[in-house]
């Protein structure tokens, strides 16, 4: 997978892509302790992982969580079976790390975890102001549940069944959250 270009979307994870020989080699070398090989994997995938973390958790936490993801990947490389591309394996691991962090924060924040009302307040502002708001920034302001589902489904290309199982909810819930997120984001399209 190529991630160096600027036109890479989050969906380019392309499940089932033939694993690139160079990445398999680097993954095997990293599993055996080669940190240079692991750094190459980091360089190839950091933009995608960091973007996921930023959209799911916000810019403040994204750097730290991205580092956690790669440290975790280093520890778990021995379990990588090559049944999917390395990027797909890494992304799944990243989603799990991000959701665990999310849950930890949610516990800490208690009843404020849902972040209800932030977007509704935003929505009440004049359209001219909203139009200037960056779409990415608007995603970060979505209520928690809607944001997670929206990022995983519409940005990252996961299916409802996968998201439901990751979040431990029903796919009826994820469908409702997705719809809510899209409805809230309509006014941030910049037009």
């Amino acid at each position: 997978m190529e991630h160096a270009g600027s036109a890479v979307t989050a969906r380019d994870r392309a499940p089932g892509t033939v694993p690139a020989a160079a990445e398999l080699k680097d993954a095997a070398a990293a599993a055996a302790g080669d940190t240079r090989a692991f750094e190459r994997l980091y360089r190839a995938h950091v933009a995608r992982i960091h973007s996921l973390a930023r959209r799911m958790l916000g810019a403040d936490l994204a750097g730290e969580v991205t580092q956690d993801v790669f440290v975790r990947a280093w520890q778990k490389l021995g379990t990588f079976r090559g049944e999917a591309a390395f990027g797909t394996w890494l992304h799944r691991l990243a989603v799990n790390v991000v959701l665990a962090e999310r849950a930890r924060l949610g516990t800490r924040r208690g009843r404020f975890a849902e972040g209800e009302g932030v977007m509704d307040a935003l929505a009440a502002r004049p359209a001219a102001t909203d139009a200037g708001l960056d779409f990415d920034a608007a995603i970060e302001r979505l209520p928690e549940g809607a944001r997670q589902v929206f990022v995983l489904h519409d940005v990252e290309g996961y299916r409802h069944e996968e998201i439901a199982s990751l979040l431990g909810v029903t796919s009826g819930t994820t469908k409702a959250q997705l719809h809510r997120a899209r409805m809230l984001l309509r006014r941030h399209l910049g037009s």
Partner: protein, 238 residues
């Protein structure tokens, strides 16, 4: 515009409404400008999200990662007696060799099931590396670049006989091998068996496929090679 239908627009957009509801919603859309407009907006939001690009972090996060990476323990896995020294490898080497076999068999299944033209999985040439354990990168190199020609047909009975014989040898001498080695071998055998099973099931639906036949033959060859290695380990300790 009615609230009921507005709530279903995302599902409709994603093609997830059952046929009956889809038809009812379409009938409603034809006469409701509000819902039609909302649907269009939702479509734009989803399309915009799919086009969002990834962006690298502002700071280089690598130094902070590098300092947290635990060095891999280069413990030597001594398989026993002095004369077996040539069969000892470090755990990482063994892990890498095992990983490689997994990569090959896993990747091969995917290739077979989707029929995408791609290099064939490395066959019999891979397994000897498991035992002789050269430096890891060479192992990966050799196996990944090896593009064994696929046989047009295979003799299932011949492979099955060889497999049965080698499995017998391994069963008999299992106790003489290091448990970690046994685990690595068995894990790889399970992976190959899974690939073989998938290939056989795919063949049942498409018995004439040269690719699937070749793929199955490759998996069986891989299995024979792995079993031979295991038997050789036992022999080396003789």
């Amino acid at each position: 515009m009615t609230g009921h239908w507005t709530e279903r627009l995302s599902e409709y957009l994603d093609g997830e409404l059952p046929a009956l509801e889809r038809a009812s919603l379409e009938a409603h859309l034809a006469g409701c400008a509000g819902c039609a407009r909302t649907l269009e907006e939702l479509r734009v939001v989803a399309a915009r999200a799919a086009r969002l690009q990834v962006r690298p972090p502002g700071d280089d996060l690598w130094p902070g990662i590098a300092e947290r990476l635990e060095p891999r323990a280069a413990r030597t896995l001594d398989l026993g007696a002095a004369r077996a020294r040539r069969w000892s490898f470090t755990l990482p080497q063994l892990a890498a060799a095992g990983l490689l076999l997994m990569l090959l068999s896993g990747g091969a299944v995917w290739l077979a099931l989707t029929r995408r033209p791609a290099p064939a999985p490395a066959g019999i040439s891979t397994a000897p590396r498991l035992a002789s354990a050269p430096e890891t990168s060479r192992t990966a190199d050799t196996a990944v670049s090896a593009a064994a020609a696929l046989p047009a047909a295979y003799d299932a009975a011949r492979y099955d006989a060889a497999i049965a014989e080698l499995e017998g040898v391994l069963r008999e001498h299992r106790g003489e091998l290091d448990p970690a080695t046994v685990r690595a071998i068995e894990e790889n055998l399970r992976i190959i068996d899974r690939a073989t099973g998938q290939a056989r099931r795919a063949l049942a639906a498409d018995p004439a496929s040269p690719y699937l036949n070749g793929h199955l033959a490759e998996q069986l060859k891989l299995k024979v090679a792995l079993l031979r290695q295991a038997a050789a380990l036992v022999g080396a300790r003789g």
